[in-house]
Symmetry: C2
Subunit: 414 residues, 2 copies
């Protein structure tokens, strides 16, 4: 291993970056190589290349996705280069067995459209000027059978079987189609081509992201460091944030929804959201978390600051201020009593507003419910309901007000 000579201030800069990148990460593999890479970059002035792979099939970006983006932004702020890798090759071939509906075949236009959407949405977190956009079809479509056999010769079947979902399916005697082995191979090969220094991923990407390290070594390149970020729980406080679970905060949502949803988060998630879902300076994050722990900061105040920060990140200062004012007006100053009954909602997650009001026994009949809405007497999360045909997405912490005195707050089953 080569020795890198650093001045005292350079040494300090290495430690600063190391602390910055490691804070919030679930796992860094291996930390000593991360230090070496940073040291080399500080010594030579050469930026590091940080890869993030993206599946082009689902471009709806929510706060869960921003965990890695916020980490990437930290790298950008120090001058490193982000490599966004659109897995368009995989998207275009789909699932040859036709069994997985998740992996349906996309056209060139769909891939392009989705990539553009990603890039636009990511641009709200990342500095687009310091992003390289790569499409892996560029090199993967050039591989012929001989190349594929060379690639496959660099990994064993046993190693691939270690992936959790493969291991599980073998134990359950569920079939694994041979082509499924290629996805980790391709992800690894992408890192060989891109000569990435670091690859980011969620903890659920543990196996796939390590493939880059494996194949870079087998192709005699410098091995990338892997940074695994925790998965962010959604509004329910339990499940991973995802669109299909209806527990997400989308980065395209309007300021009031964004703020309101943030306020509905359980207190226990505050620390995690501060570290993973905001663009605050590391020392501000640390101070906030410490104040929460010591009780110097009330959880509700922390949550309001978090809500305002998140709205500011995606809609700007002014919108953040307005959302906070709106929240204060509706929820604090006027509408909500201090102690409000909590009702556990066991029905469908999406329910017609009329059914919701009657089932919750806030109104005695559907016709009464209809009339009350038409008279402007029903508020959902402080917003007047206007459409008697509306379907309501029932979210935890949602408040419903009927007339002046009836309030409920909902909790939702898993």
């Amino acid at each position: 291993m080569e020795t890198i000579h650093l001045t005292a201030s350079q040494q300090k800069e290495v430690e600063r970056q190391l602390d910055l990148y490691m804070t919030g990460a679930q796992e860094v593999i291996p930390p000593e190589e991360l230090r070496t890479k940073i040291a080399k970059s500080v010594a030579t002035g050469m930026p590091l290349k940080i890869k993030l792979g993206l599946d082009p099939s689902a471009p709806d970006v929510h706060l869960g996705h921003t965990v890695v983006l916020n980490k990437l932004r930290q790298f950008q702020e120090t001058g490193h280069i982000v490599q966004l890798l659109i897995g368009d090759f995989t998207g275009k071939i789909g699932d040859p067995t036709g069994k997985s509906t998740a992996r349906k075949q996309l056209t060139d236009e769909e891939v392009q459209h989705n990539a553009k959407t990603y890039f636009e949405q990511f641009g709200k977190v990342l500095d687009k000027e310091k992003v390289e956009l790569h499409y892996n079809s560029k090199w993967l479509k050039e591989l012929n059978l001989e190349d594929v056999i060379e690639l496959a010769g660099k990994i064993t079947v046993a190693r691939l079987m270690e992936r959790d979902d493969f291991e599980e399916r073998i134990a359950m005697q569920k079939p694994i189609s041979l082509h499924e082995f290629f996805y980790p191979l391709m992800q690894g090969y992408d890192s060989v081509v891109l000569e990435s220094d670091i690859e980011l991923g969620g903890t659920d990407q543990h196996f796939n992201v390590l493939m880059g390290r494996h194949f870079q070594e087998r192709y005699k390149k410098e091995k990338q460091v892997v940074i695994l970020m925790p998965l962010l729980e959604g509004l329910d406080g339990v499940e991973k944030m995802s669109k299909s679970k209806h527990n997400y905060i989308g980065i395209d949502e309007n300021p009031n929804d964004m703020y309101g949803k943030t306020m509905s988060l359980p207190d226990s998630l505050m620390k995690k959201y501060i570290h993973l879902a905001t663009d605050l300076e590391l020392e501000d994050k640390k101070r906030l978390v410490k104040d929460l722990e010591t009780g110097a900061l009330h959880p509700r105040d922390a949550k309001m600051f978090l809500g305002k920060t998140i709205v500011r990140m995606y809609h700007g200062e002014e919108a953040a201020e307005a959302a906070e004012q709106q929240f204060k007006r509706v929820f604090q100053q006027n509408s909500l009593p201090e102690d409000i009954a909590t009702v556990h909602w066991k029905g469908d997650q999406t329910t017609p507003i009329i059914d919701l009001l009657v089932t919750l026994e806030l109104l005695p009949s559907k016709s009464e419910a209809r009339r009350m809405i038409q008279n402007g007497g029903v508020k959902i999360n402080g917003e007047k309901a206007e459409n008697i045909h509306a379907d309501i997405q029932v979210l935890p912490q949602m408040t419903i007000q009927v007339g002046k005195r009836k309030f409920v707050r909902l909790t939702v089953s898993e």
Copy 2:
């Protein structure tokens, strides 16, 4: 399943072919499909396509290889088409891990040369006019990653693991490199491209040959029937005939060696050799075997007929006659006494002639042995030994004569 209408004589022809092809085969998968294919061919006059895959790395052809060739010739005689498939793609890529010395990378020239050698040697058994020569690099080198993933999507990992040697290595925790899974895939894909009706192979090819059936079905083609031929034991009567075991009869050997080696076969192998290593008519084979079983034919006479037949196949009638005469002259009429001592040889399989004579105590010293050879007094299998530096390949049933009266016949340890 479609119904095929046949006249009585066509029906008889179907049964004749079925009996012909099945006799001597170890396994036909499945026999009822073989009957259907023959019936279709008889009804329509369309020949069947019979595939044999060849590894281009080892072009030394011996009788062990001719087991499948003799079966192919039976198909040719009825008018069917033989597809010789040279696996040059595999030969050219070698083993990407570099671990297997058996699978070393061949140049285009080597592949061409080996294929030509095969074709010439095979021409001694097959009718070259009714052979199609195919090189699988033609289609395999055209496959790109997308095609490979499509192919791999048509088989499961579990199915591939069923191959005996994979299963064994998994049990022994020995690594399997992923590229090894491609060889059966390629062999199967060859059958898809060639639209083979039948594929021949040795019983050791059971798994690979079935791949053709598997992939033809998955690519919506008519499935090939698989005919597995038994492996032929060599001169020792126990091990599979192979060059490395020094127990083979090469089809390029001179008539006298060919005849003599055949005579050294254990009696127990007569039936098998008659069925698998000759071009006799099926009814003649059956009669010979029956006569051997009833004792109407002496094993030695059967063996002489077998020897003559084999020499005739590779060198013609005249050479066969001459080899028989030579054998009779040396071994029967003059040289060999009726009861000759048998000595078990425990030394190296290849031994300098001088050492052989002294170790067997046929001569008291190396100098005596040297002199006796120079005087023309030593015969190996009835042939005068002339070179005192010769290395002798010790084979079972080999006879050594020193002077007029000393004889030994050797048996050899496993």
